[in-house]
Symmetry: C2
Subunit: 125 residues, 2 copies
């Protein structure tokens, strides 16, 4: 049975709605940071260490965008040295399930995708 009924809801406007959101969460780091924050409140440095390859700059930008979009809350403590903690908002937590669904799919199919890529590369270069 096709799921076209559901896709119609999403594609009703030619995909603009889903695109508006995808444009925001489908950058290089956002979904990764969101799933990391499922652990709970984390400091900037914790996020940095738990996200190999991210630069300070990109972590800052990603967190700012998440805060701006209402997915993450930012708490600054007036201490020395400074302490800043990030936590998912309720809306942020609601993104965890779909993000994990995509993540599980990724885990389940990465090998098949790689194999297909390799085979395609041999055929067509």
């Amino acid at each position: 049975m096709s799921q076209y009924e559901h896709t119609c809801l999403i594609r009703g406007d030619g995909g603009r709605t889903i695109r508006a959101v995808l444009d925001r969460i489908c950058d290089k780091w956002t979904l990764l940071i969101v799933t990391t924050l499922d652990q709970g409140r984390l400091r900037f440095g914790d996020l940095h260490r738990q996200t190999p390859g991210i630069s300070q700059r990109m972590l800052t930008l990603t967190l700012r965008n998440l805060e701006r979009d209402g997915l993450v809350s930012r708490t600054v403590y007036a201490e020395v040295p400074p302490r800043v903690e990030y936590e998912l908002t309720p809306m942020g937590r609601s993104l965890i399930a779909p993000a994990l669904a995509l993540g599980r799919w990724a885990m389940d199919h990465i090998d098949e995708i790689e194999a297909s890529r390799a085979a395609y590369g041999e055929r067509a270069g």
Copy 2:
């Protein structure tokens, strides 16, 4: 109750696995084309018309990548004028559910996100 158990699976390698897949399906058009193809077999022109804003070039590139990754099959008919049809493979169809989960989340939260953005813009410029 936290879903951290599941995120651990995904983030076990620092997110490299999920990132490897996200890098491929989180471009500007891929998820949109996949959900559109849930309708069944579609011609190039159909896809073009049903995806407002996409250029011929990007549609071609997106479809090539999907074919290369084994998510879409491409059938060329030896006719004049030419006819080419695209269809999801079994793996492609398996992506529909997670894609729709994300799509539904997008639909449900776009207003809240926009509101948060507007409020943030007023506070901080």
